[in-house]
């Protein structure tokens, strides 16, 4: 593996009595897109804030490009581009003014800064909105401007907290295209937090985080492979009763997750007719598919990424 530009060692943090993070060790290589996947409250944001030097971890250590986040926060900040969940832009200033302001905070020299701003405005297709106040931009445009802001000083490590929230599908695609370019052209290491499967699938490697603990750390493919077979999701009536009946009549081990019955087995499609014959009239819907990252998460933690499906849709 190439140079590990981001490393953490047994990071832990508490909020009062609650352990928000416990024993998290990870390493991210230069040029790698690394995803932090987990439910809200799982510890993603805490880990993100520790790496961004905003809060100090209670236990363990973390470094960016060899600089310790606690002992040398300045060295770390110089190497970090950070975009938070809500854009760090002043709505009263224009896009160009915001970028110039931030560039000066980064200590960029006047001439370089002007050229760099123009370059980023062009790259992010914002040149015609340079003079618009950020408060008048759509959420997607503001987010793009914020990403340009985070990249101004050409940081070797970029941290993005839920970068696709509030983006329409096209804007989401654009964002990933940019991140891909960043990685391939400049060897930038990108850390993305997300609770969305589509985002997680696009990462080179993933860290699954649940209740502050590392659940798994691998490539999306490897994580899926370890489950193997197909996943059959069954709906119909009371899930607990249905699971009992399926288990009794068909001898499969059934787990109930989020109001559905789930079975993992090889050649799932062959199982479906048997299911309908064994439980006539009881099945409302069946789906058979390859295991998703969500299945991996369920397998490892016993609960879904989303406890209620309402918020999953937003």
């Amino acid at each position: 593996m190439s140079y590990a530009i981001v490393e953490t060692n047994a990071l832990g943090h508490n909020y009062g009595e609650r352990r928000a993070l416990d024993g998290v060790s990870l390493s991210i290589a230069a040029g790698e897109i690394f995803g932090l996947l987990g439910p809200n409250g799982g510890g993603k944001t805490t880990l993100f804030r520790i790496l961004a030097t905003l809060i100090r971890a209670a236990r363990g250590s973390a470094s960016i490009d060899g600089h310790d986040v606690v002992r040398d926060p300045h060295g770390v900040r110089r190497r970090l581009g950070v975009a938070f969940q809500s854009p760090s832009l002043d709505p009263v200033l224009t896009v160009h003014e915001n970028l110039a302001h931030h560039g000066r905070l980064q200590g960029l020299a006047r001439g370089d800064l002007g050229a760099r701003i123009d370059e980023l405005l062009a790259a992010f297709d914002l040149a015609d909105r340079a003079g618009a106040r950020v408060g008048t931009l759509s959420g997607g445009l503001a987010r793009r401007a914020d990403l340009a802001r985070a990249l101004l000083h050409r940081p070797p490590v970029v941290l993005l907290d839920e970068p696709t929230t509030g983006l329409d599908p096209r804007a989401r695609l654009d964002l990933w295209r940019h991140l891909d370019l960043l990685r391939t052209q400049q060897g930038t290491a990108v850390l993305v937090t997300t609770h969305l499967m589509e985002d997680a699938e696009r990462c080179d490697r993933l860290l699954l985080l649940d209740r502050g603990h590392v659940v798994a750390q691998d490539t999306p493919d490897a994580l899926r492979r370890e489950i193997g077979g197909d996943v059959i999701v069954i709906r119909g009536g009371d899930p607990e009763t249905l699971a009992d009946d399926i288990g009794r009549k068909l001898g499969e081990s059934v787990s109930v997750v989020d109001g559905t019955c789930r079975i993992r087995r090889a050649r799932g499609h062959e199982f479906v007719p048997a299911l309908f014959e064994a439980l006539p009239g009881r099945i409302e819907a069946v789906s058979v598919g390859r295991p998703t990252l969500e299945d991996v998460f369920i397998q490892r933690t016993g609960h879904p990424l989303w406890e209620d499906k309402e918020s999953a849709a937003t």
């Binding site: 909020y15 804030r49 961004a52 030097t53 905003l54 809060i55 100090r56 300045h74 900040r77 110089r78 970090l80 950070v82 938070f84 969940q85 809500s86 854009p87 760090s88 832009l89 002043d90 709505p91 009263v92 200033l93 003014e97 110039a100 302001h101 931030h102 000066r104 905070l105 980064q106 200590g107 802001r149």
Partner: protein, 261 residues
């Protein structure tokens, strides 16, 4: 120039610049910070004119107090943006930039102070109508005192705003702490005529000295012999500015509370 120093200066300048631009683009803030004290001045100045027996008329007595009030309002409200910036995510972007916390505090305090001083300076135009003759040196001293008061109050506002996560909390502190501080500063009534229990409060209130210094600069001798000497008043005001700035910086350098991160 040393490159770290240049970077710090650049950061302070751009933070300062942002505050000025914001203020200018939010016209309602200009009106709010200026109109309230002027209305106070007009209503109280006219209302008390008959019953006020100190030397000169009440409008003239109240004049330095109104200036300090303008400074207080502008300085304090300019620091409310710290709370908004934190909520909207702007502040986090500043906090992860490679600049010292001292530079962040300095940019904010200079920005707020410039605005406060600018608004108060507008009121200096009223001097000829008030029968005051401070002369050029008195005017310069008045500006110096106003600058120190503006720095102190903006830094004080920063200290309050840094620890709050809602602007409602800020308004409560404004009403419970900052307004009484202004009322007990000799801005509104002469300390010599105040009830006995108030006297110690007035004496330990650092703003008392700012108002006294400003009064002395604008009308030498008018405050009477009980007032603190100009040297003492100026010294306390300068110390007030320095202490609040250092306290604001120390506060900003502390690791953040999870609630505020």
């Amino acid at each position: 120039m040393n490159s770290t120093l240049a970077a710090t200066m650049g950061a302070v300048t751009t933070l300062w610049w942002r505050d000025i631009v914001r203020f200018y683009r939010q016209r309602s803030r200009i009106v709010g910070a200026l109109a309230t004290p002027l209305i106070f001045w007009l209503l109280l100045g006219s209302g008390f004119s008959g019953s006020f027996r100190a030397e000169g008329n009440y409008a003239t007595f109240f004049y330095p107090g109104v200036m300090v009030m303008i400074v207080l309002f502008t300085a304090i409200f300019s620091t409310i943006s710290v709370i908004e910036d934190r909520r909207e995510g702007f502040l986090q972007g500043v906090l992860v930039a490679p600049i010292s916390r001292g530079a962040i505090v300095a940019g904010k305090v200079l920005g707020g102070s410039t605005l406060a001083l600018g608004q108060a300076a507008l009121l200096l135009a009223a001097i000829p109508w008030l029968g005051l003759r401070p002369g050029a040196s008195g005017l310069a001293l008045a500006l110096l005192v106003l600058t120190l008061i503006a720095l102190a109050l903006t830094a004080l506002g920063f200290i309050i705003a840094w620890q709050l996560d809602s602007t409602q909390g800020f308004h409560a502190i404004m009403n419970l702490v900052l307004m009484p501080m202004w009322l007990l500063s000799g801005a509104f009534f002469p300390p010599t005529g105040a009830a006995g229990w108030m006297r110690p409060l007035i004496a330990v209130n650092p703003l008392t000295y700012g108002v006294a210094a400003l009064r002395e600069a604008l009308a030498p001798g008018a405050a009477g012999t009980d007032a603190p000497s100009f040297g003492l008043a100026l010294g306390v005001t300068a110390a007030f500015a320095l202490v609040t700035f250092l306290a604001a910086r120390a506060l900003a350098e502390r690791p953040l509370d999870a609630r505020l991160a």
